[in-house]
């Protein structure tokens, strides 16, 4: 509350907000106010666990987060671009509609949960159930690119979208992922995985294939974006073999029931 008196109509296009001591609600109010006033870039300093950053902002704005944003970063987000200079927690990009989240660090569990559009780039690794139930419709096709590796249930229940996992933390000699139950319940979308897995790590609804031309183009596009965000050499990443994981059925449970 102590910051409230300092809030006044902001004219600058770029502003900095010192967030130490601000509650989640106060911080999001400040963001709403800034965006309403036409600010195009906001730097948030000393962020320390405030949740839902980026929600309820319906104008294009870039938010650079220094510190550790709390859970549900960009929940229901509809257009902003968030750059995190640190780690994101659980639920990053939860039910996101449009926009971009670029995490210069790790992200927690259920990253990209039920995302419906937009892009999420995570430089390092993610927790459990990343990309769960991402979906797509027409041109709305969410993209999640993970630089490192993932915990179990990656892409569970996946219904659409593109999930790319690069395994850059695995070491170039072995390149073996340890994620289990990848794509369990998958019935849409596609996962491109760089590195090795053994079949028992996949959900029973998942098929494995080589990349076709369209796949290759998709991977090149998003790996290119990933590399430019985090200063990698895209060509070097693309030297390693990718495999494509896809749903075997659009109706995985169609034969489960008696009518």
């Amino acid at each position: 509350m102590k910051q409230a008196s300092e809030t006044k109509p902001v004219r600058e296009l770029i502003i900095k907000i010192e967030t130490a001591g601000l509650s989640t609600r106060e911080l999001n109010n400040r963001l709403r106010e800034a965006v309403t006033n036409g600010v195009s870039k906001i730097e948030l300093h000393n962020v320390y666990g405030q949740r839902y950053i980026g929600t309820d902002l319906n104008k294009p704005v870039e938010i650079e987060v220094f510190g550790t944003p709390g859970n549900d970063l960009g929940v229901f987000m509809d257009g902003p671009r968030i750059i995190v200079r640190g780690n994101a927690q659980d639920g990053c990009g939860n039910t996101m509609n449009e926009g971009e989240i670029i995490v210069h660090g790790h992200a927690g569990d259920v990253t990209g949960l039920s995302a419906r559009g937009g892009k999420i780039f995570v430089r390092d690794s993610v927790g459990y159930r990343a990309g769960i139930h991402m979906k797509e419709y027409g041109e709305k096709r969410p993209v999640l690119v993970i630089g490192g590796s993932a915990q179990d249930f990656l892409g569970e229940y996946m219904a659409g979208g593109v999930l790319i996992i690069l395994g850059l933390n695995l070491g170039e000699s072995d390149m073996h992922h340890i994620t289990r139950y990848i794509g369990t319940g998958m019935h849409g979308g596609v996962i491109y995985l760089r590195g090795k897995i053994t079949p028992h790590q996949l959900g029973k609804e998942v098929g494995v294939a080589e990349l076709g031309d369209t796949d290759q183009a998709t991977v090149e596009k998003y790996v290119g974006e990933f590399a430019s965000h985090f200063g990698w050499d895209a060509g070097k990443i693309l030297e390693q073999r990718f495999i494509k994981l896809f749903p075997l059925h659009l109706r995985p449970y169609g034969r489960l029931y008696a009518y």
């Binding site: 949960l113 039920s114 159930r129 797509e136 849409g188 489960l256």
Partner: protein, 501 residues
């Protein structure tokens, strides 16, 4: 494989009345009636009949009647016909038995063991036809205390968002895809006209229904179908669906055949794919996580509307409800054992959950004991049949009720329990365009408004008889109830006395 299942029903066609007009052939979506052109005769395949009565009602010469097949098995209290036939079905299909509508088993219906009070001699009853009578109900968090400005007596306390209902009866969540768009439009228009709310269920809000958004509850469920900022902004209330009375703990599979182009657009998933709602919401594994989603929605809508949380009534509902209120829910919904569904595994529907009357009493009692009952509105669902049930529910502690089955019955549903087949002959629970056009939203809305109007009048009669003139005075007033034919334990949980005492 030859099926060993006998017909459930017999179709009786009076040859003296039948004019071979084939209305029944066109009306039946289960392929019972068919026309033999060679013999110029309409015939029946009785084994397909589900007993929905569509043909009977539409037969212009009243030539048809549907009767239960009197075929008897040798009497056996354990191996009843339903048990035998379920086993046969599974032996022939290897599948999980699916069913529609609510639990049809003989669990005690407590409403039928509760009786209401009335004024005699010591206080006057009121005639609602001539005196004002108030059913207005406000849904939302109420403050712990009210502060007024000295002098002007203006309200100083900042109230949380409230939604006004003219009648404490709302329409239960029924998603687009499970029911047709014409059904949703009927519900939306009726809710708007009657001053109550309808609920989108978890299938998103069709673009043509945004104009009714002031009377709309939108759901955020595990599938997150059609959930986006405009959807949340449009609603009067946002409801987080954790569970459903017909299938506590179970997710949902909307079969791909029902995902038409328009359903796909509203849910924002590709046409023809299964719409899978996972059993849990994977960002909610605890009360703290629930609080996180409640406040995510509050932030996303800038604290402008109540957030509801709906659970199925289960053994420890009271403790869970306490957690829900403390997590920030402004409205909590309990859906009981008899709650209905468009499709659920039969074994779950018929065996999981607890009766809503007991859950309601337990939750209301618990929230009062903890001094937090004011912090959330309490809404119940699951088998509310008439205004008597509504009055008893309110006396037991509910702020309002949801009706689903009763609303669909107003539209023609006869509870044949075939919702899961997608072939509803009444055009309600289907996405087949040939069938959905059977519901005309003009007429549908009229029938629903009529039902609410009738129940409102009856509620006013009940209140008047008790000598009270506002539903607020009945709310949580368990002295207005007495029990008949209940055990001491049942009376204790319901928090009421035995009739006569």
């Amino acid at each position: 494989m030859k099926t060993f299942l006998p017909s459930k029903f017999m179709v009786e066609r009076d040859p003296n009345r039948c004019i071979q007009c084939q209305v029944c052939v066109n009306q039946c979506s289960f392929d019972v009636h068919h026309y033999d052109a060679v013999d110029d005769e309409v015939r029946s395949r009785e084994e397909n009949c589900v007993g929905c009565h569509r043909c009977v009602i539409f037969c212009p010469t009243h030539a048809l009647n549907i009767r239960k097949n009197p075929l008897d098995y040798r009497e056996n209290y354990n191996w009843r016909p339903e048990v035998i036939e379920d086993i046969i079905k599974q032996a022939e299909s290897g599948g999980v038995l699916l069913t529609g509508m609510g639990n049809d088993k003989g669990y005690r219906i407590y409403w039928d063991h509760l009786v209401l009070n009335a004024s005699q001699v010591t206080n006057p009853s009121i005639d609602p036809l001539r005196e004002p009578m108030e059913l207005t109900t406000f849904i939302g968090r109420k403050p712990d205390r009210l502060e007024l400005e000295k002098g002007s007596l203006r309200l100083k306390t900042k109230l949380a968002p409230q939604v006004r209902l003219e009648v404490p009866v709302m329409f239960s969540a029924m998603s687009y895809g499970a029911v047709s768009l014409n059904v949703q439009e009927s519900l939306a228009r009726a809710a708007t006209e009657a001053g109550t709310l309808w609920n989108t269920g978890e299938g998103g809000l069709h673009r043509s229904l945004y104009k009714y958004s002031k009377n709309t509850i939108v759901q955020v469920a595990s599938g997150r179908f059609g959930v986006h900022p405009q959807y949340l902004d449009a609603a009067a209330i946002v409801e987080i669906k954790i569970g459903q009375g017909a299938k506590p703990g179970i997710g949902g599979h909307l079969p791909g055949e029902k995902v038409s182009a328009d359903v796909a657009l509203t849910r924002m998933i590709p046409k023809g794919t299964d719409a899978l709602s996972p059993a849990p919401q994977h960002d909610i594994y605890s009360i703290e996580d629930l609080a996180q989603l409640i406040y995510a929605i509050k932030e996303a809508t800038n604290y402008t509307k109540p957030v509801s949380v709906k659970i199925a009534a289960v053994h420890n509902s009271a403790a869970i409800a306490s957690g829900m209120v403390r997590a920030g829910a402004d409205m909590i919904v309990l859906d009981g054992l008899r709650g209905s569904t468009g499709a659920a595994p039969k074994v779950i529907r018929d065996n999981v959950g607890i009766p809503i009357e007991l859950a309601l009493a337990a939750v209301d009692t618990r929230l009062r004991q903890e001094g937090i009952r004011n912090q959330a509105s309490l809404v119940i669902a699951g088998g509310i049949r008439n205004s008597g049930d509504v009055a008893k529910a309110i006396a037991l502690g509910a702020d309002a009720v949801y009706i689903g089955t009763a609303a669909l019955m107003a539209l023609g549903c006869t509870c044949c329990q075939q919702c899961h087949t997608g072939k509803c002959a009444w055009g309600i629970c289907t996405s087949d365009p040939f069938l959905t056009k059977r519901i005309n939203p003009d007429i549908g809305a009229r029938r629903l408004v009529n039902l609410l109007r009738a129940w409102s009048h009856e509620l006013k009669e009940i209140l008047g008889g008790m000598g009270i003139n506002a539903i607020e005075s009945l709310r949580g007033n368990r002295l207005a109830l007495r029990g008949v034919g209940l055990t001491d334990t049942e009376l204790e949980i319901l928090g009421i006395r035995m009739a006569g005492g």
